[in-house]
C-alpha cells in the first residue's frame, strides 16, 4: 500500500504490492486533506530528528516526500549524482531497458534483505541516535544494537512517526 502520483498528478492510494501503470489493482484518488494527514504520519528515516523514534513501515520510498525533495535537491551536500535508482519514479518505472530494471530490482531486494538481517524488519521500533554532519550517514538504534545506515538507503525506509 502506498501513496503515489498518477500521470495526471493526482495523489493516488494504491492497494497492491506491485502496481503497474496498466493495471493498478485498486486505487483511490485522494483529497488533499486526507493525503496531508497520511503524509504527516509517514516519513522517511532521514526526516527524523536526533533522538526521535518511529516504526518501520516498509522499504518503498515515500513518494510524497520524493516529490518535495525534488525541488530542494540542490541543498548543501546532496548534489552528488543520484544514479538510476531515483525514488521519484519507483512505482511506475517504465524507462530503461529490461535488463537494467531487473538488476535494479535485484540490488534493491538484496539491500532490503540486508537491512532486515540487521534487524530492521517492518513493525520494528527505530530510533535515530545521531546523523553525521554534512548530510552524512545516520546512526540508528534497532533492537538494542546501533547501526549506521547511509543516507541514500535511509531515505528509502518509510516509517510511521511516533
Amino acid at each position: 500500500m502506498g501513496i503515489y502520483y498518477s500521470k495526471f498528478n493526482h495523489r493516488v492510494l494504491i492497494d497492491s504490492k506491485n502496481p503497474t501503470r496498466e493495471s493498478p489493482n485498486c486505487y483511490h484518488i485522494l483529497k488533499n486533506k486526507v493525503t496531508n494527514s497520511m503524509m504527516r504520519l509517514l516519513a522517511n528515516l532521514t526526516e527524523l530528528k536526533n533522538g526521535q523514534s518511529g516504526i518501520i513501515f516498509n522499504f518503498e520510498a515515500h513518494p510524497c516526500r520524493a516529490r518535495l525533495r525534488r525541488r530542494r535537491r540542490r541543498r548543501w551536500g546532496s548534489w552528488h549524482k543520484r544514479g538510476s535508482t531515483d525514488p521519484d519514479s519507483l512505482p511506475f518505472k517504465t524507462s530503461g531497458n529490461e535488463k537494467e530494471l531487473g538488476k535494479n530490482a535485484e540490488n534493491e531486494s538484496q539491500c532490503v534483505q540486508r537491512l532486515m538481517d540487521l534487524g530492521l524488519t517492518p513493525g520494528t521500533k527505530i530510533v535515530v541516535v545521531k546523523s553525521a554532519p554534512f548530510r552524512g550517514p545516520l546512526e540508528v538504534l534497532v533492537r538494542g544494537s546501533r547501526i549506521v545506515i547511509g543516507r541514500e538507503i535511509a531515505s528509502r525506509i518509510t516509517i510511521e512517526v511516533m
Partner: protein
C-alpha cells in the same frame, strides 16, 4: 563463575599445548570445529586463545575472504579450528555468507561453535536460529559476559539452553575464561554424536528402521514459526524428502520460501515442480501478510529471537553510560569529532615521522660505520665496491621500511582494532562521496598522500 577453576583449566590447556609431540600414544583422532557468529563478537579472540601460535591464515579458494585455520591438542584429539567470517545471516547477500554456508554444508565440520555476544543477544540469536535450521551440531559460546554485566544485562544460560535446545557455555574470551569448559563441552557433544551415529548405523543394519527418525527432532517446539508458515514449510519439506539434497529438508523449504536464489536454482535442476510449488506457497503467505514472503519469514525469525532474548535476559541496574559509549559519542560528535580526528591523525603522523626519523638516522649512522669497516677489510676494489653497492640497496630498503612503515602499520592496527577508523568513515562519508569514493577510503587516501611525501 569460579575464577580459580578457570585458571587451572587454562593451565591444563597450556599443558595440552606443550604436549604436542610427546603424547602421540593417547591420540584419538582428528576433529574439525568451526567458529561462526556476527562480526565483532570476539570470535577471533576466541580463536587466538584456542590455537595460540598454531595458526595458518590464507584465503578461501577463489575468493577474497580470509580463512583462518589453527590446530589445538585437547584430550588426545587433534582439533582443527576454522574461524568463519563474521556474518549476520545465512542468506546470500555477501560472499562471506555464502562461504560460511557452503563450508558448513559441504565440509560438515564435527561441530559449529556459535559465538554470541551476550550484550547484543537479540541480533545474535537471529543468526543462531539460522544455524539451528541448518541442522548442524551446535554449541553456543555466550561471549563478552563481562561487557553484558557492565551494561546491566544478566542472562539465564540454563533457560537459554532450554529454549534453544543447544548447550550454552558462558565465556569471556579476552580473559580466557570459559574456554576450557567450552572445549570440554565440544568434545562431549562430538563424542555423543558419534555414539549416536554408530547406534543408528547398527540399528539400520539390524532393522532398517532407524533412518526415518534421523532428522526429525532438530526443531524444538519453541522455535517453530507461526502456523500459517510452519504448515507450508512442512508441505514443502515433505516434497523435498523424496530427493536427496545436500541441505536438510526443513532448511531448504524455508530458503525456498525466502526465495533464496542459490537454493531455487539447485532445486530447479532436479525438480522444477518443487520450485513452482514453493512460489505458489510463497504467494499465499504474501497475500496473508501483505509483505513479501522473505520479509515475513525474516520478521518472524526476529520475533522468535526477540522473544527468546526477552525470556532469558534481565536488565538489572539502570544503564550507566559505558566509557566506550562516551568515547563513541565524542569521536562522532558533529563539532568535536573533526578536531579530534585531525589531532589523532596528526599525532599519528608526528609520532611515525619523529620516531622514524630518529631510528632512520640511527640506522644510517650504523650502516655508515659498517661501511668504513667493510672498506677497511675488503678494500675499495671493483668487486668489493660492487658488493657494497648491493648491500647499500638493501640498507636503503631497511632504513625506510623498519623505521617508518612498520610503526605506521602498528598504529593503524591499533586504530582499526579500537574501532576508530569506522568512526572516521562515519564522519567523512559524505565528503568522500563527493569525490566519488566511499567513507572508508579516507584512511588509505591520507596514507597514500603522507607516504608519497615520505618517499
Amino acid at each position: 563463575m569460579n575464577i580459580e577453576v578457570e585458571k587451572e583449566g587454562n593451565l591444563q590447556l597450556a599443558l595440552e599445548h606443550g604436549r604436542i609431540g610427546s603424547d602421540l600414544s593417547a591420540k584419538k583422532g582428528e576433529l574439525r570445529i568451526a567458529l561462526a557468529g556476527n562480526a565483532n563478537v570476539g570470535k577471533s579472540v576466541l580463536f587466538n586463545q584456542m590455537t595460540g601460535l598454531h595458526q595458518h591464515i590464507g584465503n578461501w579458494p577463489g575468493k577474497t575472504v580470509e580463512r583462518a585455520e589453527g590446530t589445538l591438542h585437547f584430550k588426545g584429539y587433534t582439533i582443527d579450528i576454522i574461524d568463519l567470517p563474521g556474518i549476520y545471516s545465512l542468506s546470500t547477500y555477501s560472499i562471506e555468507e555464502l562461504v560460511s554456508r557452503e563450508y558448513i554444508i559441504d565440509e560438515k565440520p564435527d561441530l559449529v561453535i556459535n559465538v554470541v555476544d551476550a550484550s547484543l543477544i537479540e541480533r545474535n540469536l537471529f543468526f543462531t536460529l539460522q544455524l539451528i535450521e541448518l541442522g548442524t551440531p551446535l554449541l553456543i559460546a555466550l561471549n563478552q559476559m563481562d561487557l553484558a554485566k557492565r551494561k546491566g544485562i544478566a542472562i539465564a544460560t540454563d533457560k537459554l539452553e532450554e529454549l534453544l535446545g543447544v548447550p550454552v557455555i558462558p565465556t569471556i574470551a579476552v580473559k580466557g575464561i570459559g574456554i576450557f569448559d567450552l572445549l570440554d563441552k565440544a568434545i562431549e557433544i562430538i563424542e555423543k554424536g558419534q555414539k549416536r551415529k554408530q547406534q543408528l548405523v547398527s540399528e539400520k543394519n539390524e532393522g532398517g528402521q532407524g533412518e526415518t527418525s534421523k532428522e526429525e527432532d532438530y526443531c524444538s517446539d519453541s522455535l517453530k514459526y507461526g502456523s500459517e508458515i510452519e504448515g507450508r514449510i512442512g508441505k514443502l519439506a515433505a516434497l523435498l524428502k523424496k530427493n536427496n539434497f545436500r541441505y536438510p529438508d526443513r532448511y531448504m523449504a524455508i530458503k525456498l520460501l525466502e526465495e533464496d536464489k542459490e537454493i531455487i536454482e539447485e532445486t530447479g535442476k532436479i525438480d522444477t515442480k518443487i520450485s513452482a510449488e514453493a512460489k505458489e506457497l510463497a504467494k499465499d503467505i504474501e497475500k496473508i501478510h501483505n509483505h513479501s514472503c522473505s520479509t515475513v519469514i525474516t520478521s518472524e525469525r526476529y520475533e522468535k529471537a526477540g522473544w527468546i532474548a526477552r525470556n532469558v535476559m534481565q536488565i538489572k541496574s539502570p544503564i550507566k553510560p559505558l566509557i566506550e559509549e562516551r568515547l563513541h559519542d565524542i569521536t562522532t560528535h558533529r563539532i568535536f569529532g573533526y578536531p579530534i580526528m585531525i589531532i589523532i591523525l596528526f599525532s599519528m603522523f608526528l609520532l611515525v615521522f619523529t620516531f622514524g626519523g630518529w631510528l632512520n638516522s640511527l640506522l644510517t649512522n650504523f650502516f655508515y660505520g659498517v661501511q668504513s669497516i667493510f672498506q677497511g677489510t675488503f678494500g675499495v676494489e671493483t668487486i668489493s665496491a660492487l658488493v657494497w653497492s648491493i648491500i647499500e640497496g638493501l640498507i636503503a630498503g631497511i632504513t625506510i621500511v623498519l623505521p617508518y612503515i612498520i610503526p605506521f602499520y602498528f598504529i593503524l592496527y591499533v586504530l582499526e582494532n579500537s574501532g576508530y577508523l569506522s568512526r572516521i568513515a562515519f564522519l567523512m562519508d559524505n565528503l568522500m562521496h563527493k569525490i566519488g569514493l566511499h567513507g572508508k577510503a579516507f584512511i588509505p587516501m591520507i596514507n597514500h598522500g603522507a607516504f608519497c611525501g615520505a618517499g
